[in-house]
């Protein structure tokens, strides 16, 4: 990879940011090389804009270092950093015309008038806005305003250009066109571009490297090909492109069991009988006759997508998406083949499947056949079970015993939705409360990075009385 040889221009070291007690960036580290196009990709609320604002100097991390060209620049105000930003809503100065907007930074540098004029004209030509000098910015179209914003940042000749979802407000066609233009501008000006977006296609199209973020942490850094072909976990696989993500068990090196079948794969080192996540891209599945397939399923639907058909094939209870240039008949039984190389094995996002709570009964009502325990400063009542006060218990809640409280009154309030991954049968939702994470199954898709109340269905729970441990107090 050519990038590794390049010089690092900016690096974030162990950055931690918190707003109002809420962790925005959880000790992230990132190196960005000279002249590269890096995209920070993630769902809204993942901390990607904050990362950009730290480099720009608009946010100061609570801890961690921002190193620019070998120098620590924490505390250096934005105007003293050789970095320019293209803002999300362009933020052009409404009282200035196109020329004065672009010349803004140069005038502050007190450059001679004719040099300013020359550089602004050249930059406007680069962004295809020659002849627009005297136009008021409010009379420009979205795409034109966008280009003025880019010109305004580029003309200052910064080491790094930061772009905060700059194409978000444009319509699809213009966005695609601007993606290529931006990439071209980056190539011709040889600047470092750090680009923030939640659009995975945009990230794959433009970037030399992609940084995938979720919930204030970096999940994976790599070339677009790496990220697509070798996602490190189910979140990345789900976020980038279409993917079948399945629960599997690594039987041994190069042997994986999914959907009740044992298949050959190329990954090693996960250990024997380890639960894993498996990714198979829809375009990597080959439709065969039922007798010759590794997996057999029934075609449920087929949709023409232009280049290919997208079929939904049911294997047992699980839905598999297959893309193929030929459509199979709906209702027919087909076989499916995947070459070992195309089966991507990943560690589970969570080290557990069932949610286990170890606690002490804090209150009990024998007549009512119920007991209470404390969970993260809230008292939870368990109906239908009685244990005397002071009993140490291990409560095992399977993922389907968890649900989001529809009435807004959950057993724990304000639980953060960290990720939602469709596993062919259900959505596996990872939730984060103040002290721990939870795994929940749901048939409904949920919006990540939102806060919801969580309820437990204790009729599905298992209870185990533990030996008393006198020294420990819980609460």
């Amino acid at each position: 990879m050519e990038q590794t040889a390049k010089k690092t221009i900016v690096s974030l070291k162990d950055i931690f940011v918190r707003f109002d007690g809420e962790v925005i960036l959880n000790h992230i580290s990132l190196d960005i090389h000279e002249k590269e196009f890096v995209t920070i990709l993630g769902p809204s609320g993942c901390g990607k804009t904050t990362t950009l604002r730290i480099i720009g100097g608009f946010v100061e991390p609570e801890s961690g270092d921002v190193i620019f060209d070998g120098r620590r620049i924490n505390g250096t105000p934005p105007n003293k950093r050789n970095v320019n930003t293209v803002f999300q809503k362009y933020s052009l100065f409404p009282h200035l015309n196109v020329f004065d907007n672009v010349a803004f930074g140069l005038k502050l540098k007190k450059l001679p008038k004719d040099e300013i004029k020359r550089r602004v004209s050249k930059m406007l030509a680069t962004v295809d806005l020659k002849g627009y000098e005297k136009r008021s910015v409010s009379t420009l179209s979205g795409g034109q305003q966008q280009r003025v914003a880019i010109a305004r940042a580029l003309v200052c000749d910064p080491d790094i250009i930061l772009l905060d979802e700059p194409l978000g407000a444009l319509d699809l066609k213009l966005r695609k066109c601007m993606q290529l233009e931006l990439k071209e501008i980056q190539r011709s000006t040889e600047k470092t571009f750090i680009y923030v977006t939640h659009d995975q296609e945009e990230a794959l199209t433009m970037s030399d490297r992609v940084v995938v973020m979720n919930n204030g942490a970096i999940e994976q850094v790599g070339t677009p090909e790496d990220i697509y072909n070798e996602p490190v976990n189910a979140f990345v696989a789900d976020f980038i492109g279409e993917a079948n993500i399945l629960n599997g068990t690594m039987i041994d090196d190069c042997r994986i069991r999914i959907l009740g079948r044992e298949l050959e794969c190329v990954d090693k080192g996960f250990g024997r009988n380890t639960p894993v996540d498996v990714v198979i891209r829809p375009e990597d599945i080959i439709i065969t006759k039922p007798e010759t397939g590794q997996l057999v399923g029934v075609v449920e639907s087929s949709t023409f997508k232009g280049v290919h058909y997208e079929m939904s094939i049911r294997v047992g209870k699980c839905e598999i998406i297959v893309q193929s240039t030929k459509s199979a008949e709906i209702g027919s039984t087909v076989g499916m083949m995947v070459v070992p190389f195309n089966i991507q094995i990943m560690n589970k996002l969570l080290p557990f499947y069932d949610n286990i709570i170890e606690t002490v009964v804090t209150g009990a009502d024998e007549a009512d056949n119920s007991f209470e325990f404390r969970l993260e400063d809230e008292s939870v009542t368990v109906p239908g079970h009685y244990y005397p006060e002071g009993t140490r218990l291990r409560i095992t809640l399977p993922p389907d015993a968890l649900s989001l409280a529809g009435d807004g009154d959950g057993d724990i309030d304000d639980v953060y939705i960290e990720s939602v991954v469709y596993k062919g049968e259900h959505n596996e939702i990872i939730l984060e409360s103040d002290e721990r994470k939870w795994l929940m199954l749901s048939d409904v898709d949920e919006q990540v990075a939102t806060y919801v109340p969580l309820s437990f269905d204790f009729s599905k729970a298992g209870f185990e009385v533990l030996d008393p441990e006198p020294a420990e107090t819980e609460g």
Binding site: N79, V83, F87, H95
Partner: protein, 263 residues
Amino acid sequence: MKSRKLSIPYIVWMLVFTMIPLVMIGITAFTDKSGGFSLEPFQKAFTYTNVFLKSLWIAFLSTLISLILAYPLAYMLARMKKSSQNTFVMLLMIPMWMNFLLRIYAWIILLQKNGPLDLALSILGIHGSYIGNTAAVVVGMVYEYLPFMVLPIYTVMCKIDPSLIEAAQDLGSNGFDVFRKVIFPLSVPGIISGITMVFVPSASTFLVSQYLGGTDDIMIGDVIDKIFWTDQNTGSAISLILMIFIFAFLVLMNLFGDEEAIA
């Protein structure tokens, strides 16, 4: 169609209470006591030229001082926490709920001989009354109209997109550059609006100068107040001239700002 029907009561209102009175004032200004056409009311009106000029001067001073006091206040207000902003705006508004005359009386008490100001200054060995001069009139006017200067500037400043300030910093502006190159130019509509809202009423006000000013601080509003009962024709002529002045002023202001500032 619907919207046009709804506007009929307002059109009638404007006709009865704006257009017709305006025409009547116009007619009265060009007639004499017997009812015939005459330029005499205007001849009489021009004997008050000095009062006119004095009124404009006092209005100009009041507007200028209001602006000097109001701009930094509005700037600070707009940068405060939202909750403190509301408190301060409230404090600014509360005096306006008090009757206009009472507020003027309060200034008489403050400035008169043996009043609080006099007593305070007597420690330094200075005695006297601070009422009955142009400065006292200006003080009263500024007190009266300051909120009308602060509020439009404050509103415009609140509307400035914070990302523009960030963009300016990003492009190399220090705090002063941000103010000079972004905040000030974008607050000009508020300034124009404030000037209009202070200058126009203070040029035509009355009573303030009667209570706080000296004998030569009489303002054109007071003249109209006095003579209208005895000589409606001259009163109308003066009103008409004042109106033309104000109209010319608004047009002038319109050249600097956009329409919304004048509304």
